[in-house]
């Protein structure tokens, strides 16, 4: 319906889109634009007046060795979680939909870790890594379990990966199940008649048809892995000796602990550019892999 009177049209436009526009501007648009402006400003304390800094913050961000350590570790984390979350999520979806009677029960239980926030999950797993696993190691005499994982620089990183996989695999499983259900049964039956075995059906028929699901799950894992904060913060706190501090945590530290807003924000913008470029490439290149059934 087109309103005849332009005043009335403006009224409706404001009524229907105004509230969203206003809150979206307050939460996203204004901070984003102002955030870009802040990267060119010097700020000693949060309340002191701003002074023009040129590209100083960016140059300090680029020369911040700790920032790049955190970024490299984050990229390693992104790769590890994308591979493991998607592989395990897909495997679970494949198992759950392969004809077991209690499909719904398995689905419900395997999804549960997703309901709990990363912060609390970190504390739950702290108990497991600090108390429970060493106690199993002690009893069964398994050396690798006896030492506390969170106190070791390499194992602490993998502890974060394990908890993240444990949390997200169930979510991706749900998305994969939706994809698997929509794989046309007649295509699979036709290939069975043509003599394809289960493995061939999976790799030649099902997986290519599942590319749209993988586009979604890889995008989701990519984005959340780059932004990981809660689990990092509660499970290891960046330790031991800053060895597991990832980029979000580094930005929080830089801005709020060292009260270096300008450099912190410049680093956050570098993170944004990297995430935007990587997700852009991912969505673009994987769209090209999609096939029709």
């Amino acid at each position: 319906m087109r309103e005849k009177n332009s005043l009335k049209r403006l009224g409706n436009q404001l009524f229907f889109t105004g509230p969203t526009l206003l809150t979206f501007a307050i939460a996203v648009l204004i901070p984003f634009v102002y955030g870009l402006y802040l990267t060119f400003m010097n700020m000693d304390t949060p309340t002191s007046p701003l002074s023009f800094a040129g590209l100083d913050n960016y140059s300090r961000a680029i020369h911040d060795a700790k920032f790049w350590d955190a970024m490299l570790l984050t990229i390693k984390f992104v790769v590890a979680t994308i591979v493991l979350v998607n592989a395990i999520g897909f495997l679970l979806a494949y198992l759950v939909t392969s004809g077991v009677k209690q499909q719904n029960f398995f689905r419900v239980v395997l999804f549960t870790p997703n309901l709990i926030g990363g912060l609390v999950l970190g504390y739950i797993w702290q108990f497991i890594f600090v108390q429970t696993l060493p106690s199993i190691g002690e009893k069964l005499n398994i050396e690798s379990l006896r030492l506390g994982w969170l106190g070791d620089e390499h194992l602490a990183f993998w502890a974060i990966v394990i908890v993240t996989v444990w949390q997200s695999a169930g979510y991706m499983m749900i998305i994969f199940i939706a994809g698997l259900i929509s794989v046309p049964k007649d295509v699979l039956e036709a290939s069975t008649i043509d003599g394809a075995n289960a493995w061939q059906r999976l790799t030649r028929m099902t997986l290519p048809l599942m590319v749209p699901s993988f586009v979604v799950t890889v995008f989701l894992t990519l984005k959340t892995a780059f932004m990981v904060y809660d689990i990092n913060f509660s499970l290891t706190g960046g330790g031991p000796y800053n060895s597991t501090e990832m980029v979000s945590m580094h930005v929080v530290q830089k801005a709020f602990t060292e009260t270096n807003y300008g450099v912190g924000q410049a680093e956050a913008i570098v993170l944004f550019v990297i995430v935007a470029v990587v997700t852009g490439i991912q969505v673009y290149s994987s769209k090209k892999m999609e096939v029709e059934a």
Partner: protein, 278 residues
């Protein structure tokens, strides 16, 4: 053929049971240890509790100010989600039905904004609303709810956008012919038809807002306003390694969500599925 299918199914069951154990054992472990004291927790974490002693629960409820913390989280989540649902449905419907240049660009900007990491907005948020405008000092809860509506609206409008298109235009036109205004048509005809989508959107937003930590920890500075995740963080700092208190506290934080899941699991899983397929 059927014999190999039977062995195949056995393998599937074994793998699924293994997954079940891995996914459920942390919860079982918490439950078992919530009745024990520190000595028993350290010496035998896997043993069944010798008595059902709720004393540590009572202690944790008291020390973490459970009911106030729960109420804060509940109020923030409830109001954020109600407004996300109503505002996003309103905008998505208007944008689909009035595809002007402005509406299309706004939609494109909102979709694109979904790749902005929260970390790139966090510092300006605190600077503008904290240091400059002092909203954090004067109305932290309200600010937090407004921010959640703003952050939640992009994905919600994106999902609604697809579903609004599937509503037959004739229904709305019939309402206009009967003399209904735009607002009446939306609230009486369109919004009820969007109810299943609204349920999906409500669920997706409840899941992240209830558990969110970083944003509320920056905005809510007074202890009386703390949400469950912030309280858990403070609690963990105060009672470091005091597991007889920490484990009941963790369980108390997790329990409301698990109880909600028990009743709403069908809708929650369907919501996640629909949210991802678009």
């Amino acid at each position: 053929m059927s014999a190999s299918r039977a062995t195949g199914l056995t393998v599937v069951y074994i793998l699924l049971l293994a997954a079940l154990v891995i996914f459920a054992f942390p919860f079982v472990l918490l439950f078992l240890n919530s009745f024990k004291d520190n000595g028993q927790i350290l010496s035998s974490p896997f043993a069944l509790p010798t008595s059902l002693d709720f004393g540590h629960f009572a202690d944790a409820i008291d020390k973490m100010n459970f009911f106030v913390t729960f109420r804060n989280t509940f109020v923030i989540t409830l109001f954020s989600v109600i407004f996300i649902v109503v505002f996003s449905a309103m905008s998505a419907h208007y944008m689909v039905r009035n595809g002007s240049g402005f509406n299309n660009s706004l939609f494109a900007v909102m979709v694109a904004s979904m790749i902005i990491p929260f970390q790139s907005l966090m510092i300006p948020l605190i600077y503008i609303y904290g240091a400059k405008l002092q909203w954090i000092a004067h109305a932290p809860m309200l600010l937090l709810i407004v921010l959640y509506i703003g952050f939640g609206s992009a994905l919600s409008i994106f999902i609604y956008h697809g579903f609004v298109k599937s509503i037959p235009l004739e229904l709305e036109e019939a309402a206009y012919i009967d003399g209904a205004t735009r607002k009446q048509t939306f609230f009486r005809v369109v919004l009820p038809m969007l109810a299943p989508t609204s349920a999906t959107i409500a669920i997706l937003n409840v899941l992240w807002i209830w558990n969110d930590y970083l944003l509320p920890s920056l905005v809510l500075n007074e202890e009386r306003l703390f949400t469950m995740p912030i309280k858990m963080k403070v609690f963990n700092g105060t009672y470091m390694n005091n597991w007889e208190l920490l484990i009941p506290a963790i369980l108390l934080t997790v329990l409301p969500i698990l109880i909600g899941y028990l009743f709403g699991q069908k809708f929650i899983i369907r919501g996640v599925m629909q949210g991802a397929i678009k």
